[in-house]
């Protein structure tokens, strides 16, 4: 899906726990999410900290969107 969206001209940040798979299939802007059942979640954290971490993960996606890339590139979020 990422590839078709990018083919259509939309810079696309793909957030996934399976970054290696995303690289393999050729998505270009990949952001490492947490777990596959909750890429934007950290249920072990208190709600406020989880939310702050989620904001950072979205910021990482924004960084991916404004970064020129040549091919599949993984963007790592800051450690919680």
């Amino acid at each position: 899906m990422a590839k078709e969206l990018e083919r259509a001209g939309f810079p696309t940040a793909t957030v996934t726990s399976l970054a290696a798979v995303a690289v393999k299939v050729g998505a270009n802007r990949i952001v490492r999410g947490n777990r596959f059942s909750h890429p934007f979640g950290r249920p072990e954290l208190p709600p406020a900290e989880e939310r702050a971490w989620r904001v950072e993960l979205v910021r990482t996606a924004l960084r991916a969107l404004r970064t020129p890339v040549e091919g599949p590139t993984v963007f790592e979020p800051p450690a919680p």
């Binding site: 078709e4 939309f10 996934t16 999410g33």
Partner: protein
């Protein structure tokens, strides 16, 4: 009077499809040339006929302007198929189209329709990276050619080699052996040695540095040149797209939890967060408990809204897009994404946050 012996041989009949250029009508200025046909060989068909000598006869040539077939109405394709059928062919050949995009598409569409509607085998010829290959190689037999007409001689030779065999109804062997582009089909065949022995032979060849060919080719994924980045996220319109299967409670549009046949869009305007209890997950591939507790763990609306408030994101589209990627069929998922992309364009979206589970 006894019939002359050569009369007893019923020659195989071939119909050749060409575009307006190779039919000698004209170039791009004649790309709207309507479908037409003539008995016998035309243009590159003349050289093809020589290569086929004794085996088959080009009974007729059908052509059409590339502009009409590539994205024209269905009745253009219907007219072409009717013209093909009027020559009662045993096999249909199309091209070679080399690297020409619309011609390649026309050849592939004609071959697919001939096979599907008339039940007649068909063969197209074009460059392996012609866009039509990726779209049609599963349903159309395609022989690879060079990217330009410099490769005409080899292309015609490949067509002349395979077309008579198709016309006789022969089953072709594997793509790598017969020299056509892989259709992604697996066929049963009896091997000379058991799998364990063949695997060891492959391993030994690899260790010795000898050439070897794996029996099961791993899928190769096409690379997409990345579009240029967003210049300023603070001025962009972002869309949220996901294949995680997050749908409103009750799954009102019945998104399938496996092999989804559709994509859907649900409003988020006025919402600051995706409230627990309002959503459920239609996805057979993961445990949805964490998402049920807080759907923002899948589609991070709360965080996106916060960044919009802080001025770090310009705007977020007022609906999110969802399908279910569980056991997603690659072609089907790509179609979903293309349709979503068309919708995003209509809504002046600049970039996408795609959540993959």
């Amino acid at each position: 009077m006894p019939a002359a012996p050569w009369r007893l041989i019923i020659e195989m009949r071939i119909v050749h499809y060409l575009n307006q250029f190779f039919a000698g009508i004209g170039g791009e200025d004649r790309a709207e040339t309507p479908p037409d046909a003539r008995a016998g060989a035309v243009g590159p068909g003349l050289a093809l006929q020589q290569l086929l000598a004794g085996e088959a006869e080009i009974a007729g040539t059908v052509w059409c302007g590339d502009g009409l077939v590539a994205d024209g109405p269905d009745d253009v394709l219907n007219a072409i198929i009717n013209a093909v059928e009027s020559f009662a062919p045993d096999v249909v050949v199309a091209g070679p189209a080399f690297g020409a995009g619309r011609y390649g598409l026309a050849c592939a569409r004609v071959c697919a329709a001939v096979t599907r509607r008339l039940g007649i085998p068909a063969l197209a010829a074009m460059a392996p990276d012609n866009a039509a290959v990726e779209l049609h190689r599963h349903e159309v037999l395609i022989v690879p050619t060079a990217a330009t007409a410099i490769g005409m001689k080899d292309a015609l030779a490949a067509m002349a080699r395979l077309a008579p065999r198709l016309g006789r109804g022969e089953a072709l062997g594997p793509a790598a052996v017969e020299g056509y582009l892989p259709r992604g089909r697996r066929m049963n065949a009896r091997a000379a040695a058991p799998a364990s022995e063949r695997a060891l032979q492959l391993l030994l060849a690899r260790l010795d540095g000898r050439p070897f060919a794996s029996e099961v080719e791993l899928p190769r994924y096409e690379r997409i040149p990345p579009p240029p980045p967003v210049t300023d996220p603070a001025r962009m319109r972002l869309a949220l797209v996901t294949e995680c299967g997050l749908v409103p409670r009750g799954n009102p549009d019945r998104l399938e939890w496996v092999r989804a046949s559709k994509w859907l869009t649900y409003p988020i305007d006025g919402k600051q967060t995706l409230a627990p209890g309002d959503y459920e997950v239609a996805h057979g591939g993961y445990d949805a408990a964490f998402a049920a507790e807080d759907p923002d763990r899948l589609v991070p609306l709360d965080a996106v809204r916060e960044l919009v408030r802080r001025g770090e994101i310009g705007d977020v589209l007022d609906a999110y897009y969802v399908t279910c990627g569980n056991h997603g069929i690659l072609g089907q998922m790509a179609t979903h994404a293309r349709e979503i992309a068309a919708d995003l364009r209509r809504q002046h979206v600049d970039s996408v946050l795609l959540v993959a589970t």
